[in-house]
Amino acid sequence: MRVFLDFQESLRIALSAIAANKARGVLTTLGIVIGIVAVTTTMTAFNGMQTAFREGASAVGADVIYVSRMPWIVMGDWFLYRNRPNISIDEAEALREAFEGRAIVNPTMNENRDMKFRSSVMDDVTIIGTTDKLAIVTNRLPETGRFLLTYDVKYRKSVVVIGSTVADGLFGQASAINKYVLIGPSKFRVVGVLEKQGGSTFGGPDFDRQVFVPITAFTKQFGGRYFGEVDIAVKPPAGEAEAVEDLEYEVIGEMRRIRKLRPAEESNFSINKLDSLMGAFNSVVGVVLLIGLLVTSIALFVGGIGVMNIMFVSVTERTREIGIRKAIGARRHSILMQFLLESAIICLIGGLIGIGLATLVTYAINASGMMPARISVGIMAAAVVISMIVGIFAGFVPAWKGARLDPIDALRYE
């Protein structure tokens, strides 16, 4: 009861003290506002990057295992991978047979070529030779038209499904379906346009600048039947996503068998997953975030010093009041709490204003199209907690000074 009353009284004093010094409060708060905006925006931007990356990378497929010559993220000794043999179409076919009925196995090959439609040209489009199964592996659906069919692959049809950026670039608003485009020297018929995938940030692949052709047509038109590099995607059947781990070992085993590797030999291929990509992304961007937070927290620290300064003023101004309160029975902790609350509330107000401004900044980032930044409830809660902690830290020394005042000296203070 007594503690509660103490708290209530402290809160009441703190609020009236802030209300009595509005201009001073606003100026003091400014430092905290700037600090919180900086910290919050940093976190929001990190979230945005992560979201952008995840959205983009979802085309990779969360439960899909990729067998490739090289790991996606090469750490260190690149030359160790350089001499690995390419994965051939025959190896892909052997793997498909091994997993027949147990998992979907889909090979892809890719080349970059210019694409033309009448006078419109797009340079350096990623041409991917694949099968109809790609749609299942990556969950990418055509917005208009259709995806590749088994028939297209079997009969080496010169048809192409194009990404949204390519569609915009070559056809603008007009329909692309059944138009003939030139990929390098070869003519292909557009049969589908894919949904926009988005999120091509940080030098990652631009999924909307890809086009898909039957792998059979790909090897015929662009060569590579014997020297092209194949990536194999292995996807566990739907509903058995938890089996990915086991599947990974099986895939490694099968590939080693296909390549006739002896037990002592190291695998001369790599297994890639979305997880490893996310992990690499997080470790890189995590460092950036850490540095960002470190720098922005300096702003918050400076703001905190400002609050501490003003709290010293506030304690000195109210020395006599402290004396009165002590004379009529206030204990040290009552005085301590009174000033701690005052500085915590000043910082909290700063924090709330900061969150408001950070929300505006976030909208601005969103509107600018840099990244899908989003301010989350978690970030807001963190900002509130951080600002209050800054307030309590900044207020502690002044409040302690006030709480320790001798009542006689304090009463005598003019």
């Binding site: 009353l5 009284e9 029975g329």
Partner: protein
Amino acid sequence: MAMAAPQDADLDNGILFLRDVVKTYLMGSEEVHALCGVSLTIADNEYVAIMGPSGSGKSTLMNIIGCLDVPTSGFYSLGGESVANKSEAELADIRNRLIGFIFQTFNLIPRADVLHNVELPLIYGGIGKAERRQRAMEVLERVGLANRVTHRPNELSGGQRQRVAIARALVFNPSIILADEPTGNLDSRTGDEIMQMLDELHASGQTIIVVTHEDGIAAHASRTILLRDGGIESDLRRDNPARSMAKTSR
């Protein structure tokens, strides 16, 4: 010097009991003896004036009686309880419950209204809202300010402010009222009103200690203690104190 153990009889008699109280301050490297061995017993419902020129130890004695300060040596008990070896928090509680302060400069909290100022000791004493309000209103009625509860101190006259301070001093029903020059900042007519109020409080059974340098104020008390150079020079009882006979408005 061996400290004289207080006699039980003395403790029974006195609501306030000092024996050989010494207070020494360190001013730079020099020791200043503000009080050098003051012994004093004040009984329940006494009306005592403490007088003395500046530097006589008057303020120091008041601070010690008010538990704002502790003696360097000697014995002090209030309401039958020794004040020695009390922690800061315990001293705060004694000030809160046993002592009602009235200051020359009123010492109200400027941003709080009258009611809140009077409730303050009860808040620090942990009294719940309903009881607090009731007790505060009772004492405010007693000092005739029940119709001013929402005013801020700066909206009141000096006399009214001092009456708020009296209400605040009374609200916890203290053992003693300790008034330090209670009329020092008031004109003589208002001062008379305040003294009249103290007289009434005394008449209703309250123990009152007034620290003053004015003979006219001291004349209200039934006992005058004169301090000089940190010791008691005289301790006189008066049979016919100059009480104001006019009734204060209620």
